[in-house]
Symmetry: C3
Subunit: 317 residues, 3 copies
């Protein structure tokens, strides 16, 4: 099981910024290419008042901060140059489907407006192949699936042939609460299956790819959960990918690159479960030779060795 | 708005040490110079039993640990060589004005004694231009302003023409309690103004420069707070600087270099508020090409690009 | 007091992995050699389902994860090549003597079985000189001392002349609870002495070396505690070493390299107390030129300068 996609963590919630300019990003795309990345997924095009591009909608309606660079334009240009598919993440308002005061209608209407602006500005790029719906959920969530359905249908109308992806969590022992404390409670696989059976039936025909985050579940339980995911996706005509997280959830420092052995086991579990593809959150901090965390270079090398990829981190420095 | 000053974080409370010797410090001063630093501020000359110089007072009365190097001498020598103004931070006993058992008289008397020793040893250096009063407060604090006044007057007697600086916090949503937990409560700007009106009236004529820490306030509220600071300083004949923090307060890791976009917005807010100068906490960990955190090099480059400074981090390695 | 030994932190509990392969490990052993390391101590040969070597026992009885590399073989080969003594850490099941449901008999029986497998596979290596009993305790613990005694006697039967080491904590103000929160309670030195008097009497004749971790005790109290340790070891014919931790327990980031001044004071305290040897937890993350934490290189250089060792970190990169 190869990792063929990565998130681009802009706007970051919780991973410190590397402060890269266009030159550093181009180097990183070159390293991604050598590593085997074919798909890059901008995790969200905007977050509260922060923006990845100079959005008139966000500046007008959210008092958005004018960004120092147009990252959507940059990432599209690099995707074209390096032959990658670009997925754009939808706007993240800071209101989430699992909150009591979340309202589907106005949230979707506003996300749609931002997406429309993105399509108007960048939709003609040949690298623009998909949308990532950035609202992350874990368990059952009618508000989320209704949002996905409504926004996804709109995007498919505007961009025929576009792919729609989500990357939900699983309610494992390493799920976190809002204060970054581990919950330490794993739901039964049967409950996970029941909740996602309902979710998937609601999003079928709209969401094309579901890539569950694989880091919340203890590694020994991962095969069980992944097989459930695969079965549910198959039953609903959805592609089942894995989001094989490359950061370590078991350490006091939240978050540094994962131990290679863990990433390897997670990818093997995904392969054994018959999943079709792996993406990761994310290459630039946790797998890149250019990462601010030096251990990412070791992870890059171990992965390349195992998969007979000739690239080595030192060749990029 | 250019950053023209930086703290030197010795003795550090909460930022891991880089273990630099004189050679590494000299390289860093060279990078500071290229970046535009004109003022270096030793955050405290001693902290509890830890000392930046072999203080007889602290060894005798606090069982101070004899330090492996004389950092005050080193920093003064480098300041002279690189044409910078050196501000010395006063002793930090670990007793603070906002604690119930804090007593102004003995605290000031002891700080004065340590300051006198510093002046006797190093006062003749032509780079020694100021004192930083290291007791950090946020809201209203009669015990602190009385301490500032008393210690500051003494220092001005001993060193005619010396500048006195403080760098208080603002009670914003990102203020921390003792256990490094964010308080999440922002006081109204009007309350901040009322508290600091009183504080400033007490320190006028003694404190020359107030450089509020800008990281506790949400960026959207920062312009409002900075304008209040400027107005109050102007009314009391005090220079209003900003301490534009270069570490990120929004991440699970306390603390890594800030996102460039945030630092840029904070500096723009200070410029718009009419502040006269910016310092930062601090260059060596969060902005330096030599920082243990590799993302500091990106921050250095982005800042230099924006301000047409020809220096680039790679040229220093 | 020189540091002549280091732990190898495999399998790590709480320090993020550097993702080194055999090439990186060999470089690190070369740096260790230049630094003065003569003894390397694998902290545990297995932890729950994680293994440092392909153990049939653990695969069969604990569903152990087959590791991507045989680290015991690698470390022994490097120890032979660089003339170091290798100590192997016993298996860590995740059950600890201070837990209510810990049972000495079955725990020791299982540890013995894993140790036997290690001896059968690797016991003939001329570098294999000792065992490290990996169950860490702090205060009085009859269950632990009984386990040490029972397992240690078995190991000495199987490998005549082998050395047995433990590295307990001291119940100082910086001891941590399970959630990595500092306890902030220091027991009186007299209580420490009373508890360890009992412990040592139980392990005498079996445990050869006790190397207390020196990081839980405030530095001002360390001389007192170390002298007690020395006295108790002497009374029981046990070698008294210090485990002088090279990571900083005083910072919000758990854990980065310690400030050189602190490590220096701790080593001086050990020397003054008459201890015979120092090891550290651990070289590769906190002292190595190759560490993912750049400040480790500064610590390496400061230590080498102080001890007239010609090696410098930059020569290794």
């Amino acid at each position: 099981m190869r990792i063929t996609g990565t998130f681009l963590d802009e706007i970051s919630h919780d991973i410190p910024h590397q402060n890269w300019g266009p030159g550093e990003w181009e180097k990183d795309f070159r390293a991604m290419k050598a590593f085997g990345i074919k798909t890059v997924i901008l995790i969200r095009c905007g977050h509260k008042r922060w923006m990845t591009f100079p959005s008139k909608v966000l500046m007008g309606k959210k008092q958005g901060f004018t960004p120092p660079a147009d990252l959507v334009a940059l990432f599209l240009q690099l995707s074209e140059k390096y032959g990658m598919d670009f997925y754009c993440g939808s706007y993240d308002s800071g209101h989430y489907p699992w909150q009591d005061d979340y309202q589907v209608e106005p949230e979707v209407a506003f996300m749609r407006e931002v997406c429309d602006e993105v399509i108007d500005r960048y939709g003609s790029s040949p690298a623009f192949k998909g949308w990532y719906l950035s609202q992350e959920i874990a368990g059952k969530s009618p508000a989320a699936t209704e949002s996905y359905r409504s926004l996804g249908l709109h995007l498919k109308q505007r961009m025929p042939g576009v792919k729609i992806m989500i990357s939900p969590g699983m309610l494992g022992a390493k799920a976190y609460n809002a204060k970054m404390e581990k919950l330490g409670v794993t739901i039964a696989p049967e409950l996970h299956e029941a909740m996602w059976k309902e979710n998937m039936e609601k999003i079928r025909g709209v969401v094309d790819i579901v890539a569950f985050q694989d880091g919340h579940v203890e590694i020994e339980l991962l095969p069980t959960f992944l097989k459930i995911n695969k079965k549910l996706c198959d039953a609903n005509g959805i592609e089942c990918w894995t989001n094989s997280e490359s950061f370590d959830r078991d350490m006091p420092i939240d978050f540094l690159p994962i131990k290679w052995e863990k990433l390897r086991l997670k990818l093997k579990a995904a392969e054994a479960a018959g999943l079709s593809n792996a993406i990761t959150f994310e290459f630039s901090h946790f797998l890149s030779p250019y990462s601010m965390y030096r251990s990412a270079a070791g992870l890059f090398d171990r992965y390349c060795e195992e998969n007979n990829i000739p690239a080595r981190a030192k060749d990029f420095l």
